[in-house]
Symmetry: C2
Subunit: 139 residues, 2 copies
C-alpha cells in the first residue's frame, strides 16, 4: 500500500501495465499480457483496498466507469464474455480488472488469473489498443 | 441461459448454493463450498449475462447490493480481503461472486475459482451462515 500522503499507482501495476488515461475516479491501465485484451481501473483514492473503502458517490462512479470501459472493450473486441473483478490478494491497492475473454483463449473457460504465462505483445499492437480504448472512452 | 419468458435461477447455481434471500434486484445465494464464506448475487433480469446488459438504474442497484453484502461479509468474517467478481464463462446467467478471503485459505493468495476442490460444510454451519447473512443485510 501507498505509504505517502498522496495517491500513487502501486509499483506492481506500474510494471505490469501501460496507461490509457484518467477517468474522473480511476486511472485506466492496459495489461502488458497479450493473452487477453485486459483493462484495469484503479480509483485514485489513497489507502483504498476494497470497494467498500470508497464513499457511496465513488462507488457509483466506479460502476459507471466499469460499464463505460466494459462497453468499449466489448465493442472493440467482440469478445464472448467480459470478466470484471476486484481480487487484490497480492496487490492491495484497489483495482478492478475488466478482461475480454474469448472461447479458446489461453485460459478459457477458466478464470485467467494465474492460469497461463503472460504473453508478449507484438510491437505496436498494445499501443494501437491504448489508442482505440482512449477514443472509445473519450480520453 | 434461461429459455423461458420469466427469470429463473440457472440450474448450476441451484445445485451449488443455498438461498439467503432476495434483495430488490438480486437473489442472494451462499455457496455450498466450505472453503470460503462465499456469497453470490444474481440479478433477477431475464437474459442478462453481463453487467452492461443491465439498465443504468439496475447497475447502480447492483453496486449498492454488492457493497451491502460485502460489508456484511467483512463484518461477519473479519476476512483479510474481499474478492468481488463477475466471471460467468461457464454459467452465462449474470452473477457476481463476493468471497471472504483469508490468508492461508485453500487458494490464498491466488484467485479461488477452480483452485481447490470444494469442501463440505459441517452440518448446521452453512445454515448458521445463512441466518447471520440474512440478519446482516436485513432479510
Amino acid at each position: 500500500m501507498n505509504q505517502g500522503s498522496e495517491w500513487e499507482l502501486h509499483p506492481q501495476l506500474v510494471q505490469d501495465t501501460m496507461t490509457i488515461g484518467d477517468l474522473p475516479l480511476s486511472r485506466v491501465l492496459a495489461s502488458r499480457d497479450a493473452g487477453y485484451p485486459w483493462v484495469i481501473l484503479v480509483p485514485r483514492r489513497l489507502g483504498a483496498s476494497e470497494i467498500i473503502d470508497l464513499g457511496a458517490g465513488d462507488q457509483t462512479m466506479l460502476m459507471t466507469e466499469i460499464t463505460m470501459v466494459s462497453g468499449a472493450l466489448k465493442a472493440l473486441t467482440g469478445c464472448d464474455k467480459l470478466n470484471v473483478a476486484n481480487i487484490g490478494n497480492m496487490v492491495a491497492q484497489l483495482h478492478v480488472h475488466v478482461v475480454a475473454r474469448r472461447k479458446g483463449d489461453a485460459a478459457w473457460p477458466k478464470a485467467m488469473w494465474g492460469a497461463a504465462p503472460a504473453q508478449n505483445y507484438t510491437p505496436g499492437v498494445l499501443e494501437k489498443f491504448l489508442q482505440d480504448m482512449r477514443k472509445a472512452v473519450g480520453l
